[in-house]
Amino acid sequence: MKKIINNPDNVVDEMLKGIIAAHPSYVKRVEGFEVLVRANAPQPKVALVSGGGSGHEPSHGGFVGKGMLDGAVAGAVFTSPTPDQVYEAIKAVDGGKGVLLVVKNYTGDVMNFEMAAEMAAEEGITVEHVVVNDDVAVEDSTWTTGRRGIAGTVLIHKIAGAKAEAGGDLQEVKRVAEKVIANVKSMGMALTTCTVPAAGKPSFVLGDDEVEIGMGIHGEPGTHRETLRSANDTVDHLLGKVLEDLSLDKDDEVAVLVNGLGGTPIMELYVANLRVAEVLAEKGIRIAKTYVGNYMTSLDMAGFSVTVLKLDAELKDLLFAPADTPALVQN
């Protein structure tokens, strides 16, 4: 394992300290917990809390700031945080107008965040939660756990965060978050494995020209393995699946996120983005805004995901609203 770390046991703590050292005007730590909150939290507004296992940086701590999150809870690498950690975040950010938890759809995250919400409710804090499940690689079924939450989560932070910043009440913020969730779909693929620091070895093994399609962001296997194809063919496949699920019409407007998984150079993400733009243009779908970069990563994994969010006037306005966070500044 080749990593710039000191000790696998301290990596999350040191990373959080490193984030604060870099961005003290944005974030501070809830002492004793793996929780980052806005430097000037709580705000007199509905507060947004997200989180999950670490290893997805800049998610989620990098999105704490004006117009996005109020708190981010960092679990151990790839392991959802415990309820007491989430509970501390809720307490730290609650400004009296309630707290919305943005949870990615993993059994662990859902259970731990729900337990925290129960604890907070007992303390009289109004807490709601939404569950993000944008990964179309996974079959959608009410009989199973359903779909995973992946990169689309960042767009929920952006848009619901803007609604909260604009003074929306808890139910409005939740409604907007759920509208985004209903309209955002993603799918990814991995060129390489990733290595959890505490494991010290790769989570899985891929052959020299083998890739994993429909990969999860924790190194969970995807739908299948195949031989690496061209960027265009790969995008066509991922985007095809995403669009199958979105039922877009000509002249519909969308936001696009071409997300790197941590080990893929930005150059390649832009090559992929070109194809995304071409395919959408062919279909007459208009792109209102595009994000390209490392937003929801999987440690050192090479690969990327494509996210498409169908916009309406409300979502578009909120998407374009200002944000000021360590990892995303938007005027």
Partner: protein, 211 residues
């Protein structure tokens, strides 16, 4: 009964820790390669919280459960944590356990897991080891077996449960995202449960029965 709760916990910690890589590797195949790491982190924390003075089995198991909840994370943290807390609830104030109490504790633990995780038998989770093991234990006890005979039956059933998880498709937990690709691989949580169960049985035989 010479063996303290703390000595059981410490034995579990040892066996989980020595199976850290094994459990993590199992999770790597159909999950996210952290189950052994999670469980080890949890039980390492638990042994620091529990001491020889902890004689109330119920109170001690609740402490174990709370500690697991606040240190393990992931899916297994709330589930195992709830299980230990619920089991502890059935043993409040007790310093020794009989077969009947063990059955009650086991059922409470299982129901806690099912309530928290919304899974049932046949979804390729730890339940596929816990539930048949409990039933085998109850059956043996009903037939007049000793506790160690009951535990041996339970271990047999848990191992059958592990084999069963290999044959089915996961519909709960992280492995469910794989759909049919999850078939052929054993469930990490069912495995960690079986390791814990075996450790309890061994420790019971060695420390309580002195065999």
């Amino acid at each position: 009964m010479a063996a303290t709760v703390s000595s059981f916990i410490s034995a579990i910690n040892d066996s989980i820790t020595s199976n850290k890589v094994f459990l993590t590797d199992l999770d790597g195949v159909i999950g996210d390669a952290d189950h052994g790491i999670n469980m080890t982190r949890g039980f390492n924390a638990v042994v620091l919280k529990v001491s020889e003075e902890d004689s109330d089995v119920g109170a001690t198991l609740k402490k174990v459960g709370m500690t697991l909840i606040s240190t393990v994370g992931g899916a297994s943290g709330p589930l195992y944590g709830t299980a230990f807390m619920k089991a502890g609830g059935e043993a409040a104030g007790m310093t020794t356990l009989d077969g009947e109490t063990i059955s009650k504790m086991w059922l409470a633990a299982l129901e806690g897991i099912k309530a928290r995780g919304k899974a049932t038998l046949g979804e390729k989770t730890m339940i596929d080891a816990i539930e048949p093991a409990m039933e085998a234990f109850n059956k043996a006890m009903g037939e007049g077996a000793t506790i160690e005979e009951g535990l041996d039956k339970a271990i047999e059933a848990a191992e059958v449960g592990i084999e069963y998880t290999k044959t089915i498709r996961a519909t709960k937990g992280r492995a469910s995202y794989l759909g049919d690709r999850s078939i052929g691989h054993q469930d990490p949580g069912a495995t960690s449960f079986t390791i814990i169960l075996k450790t309890i049985a061994e420790h019971y035989k060695k420390e309580v029965l002195g065999v």
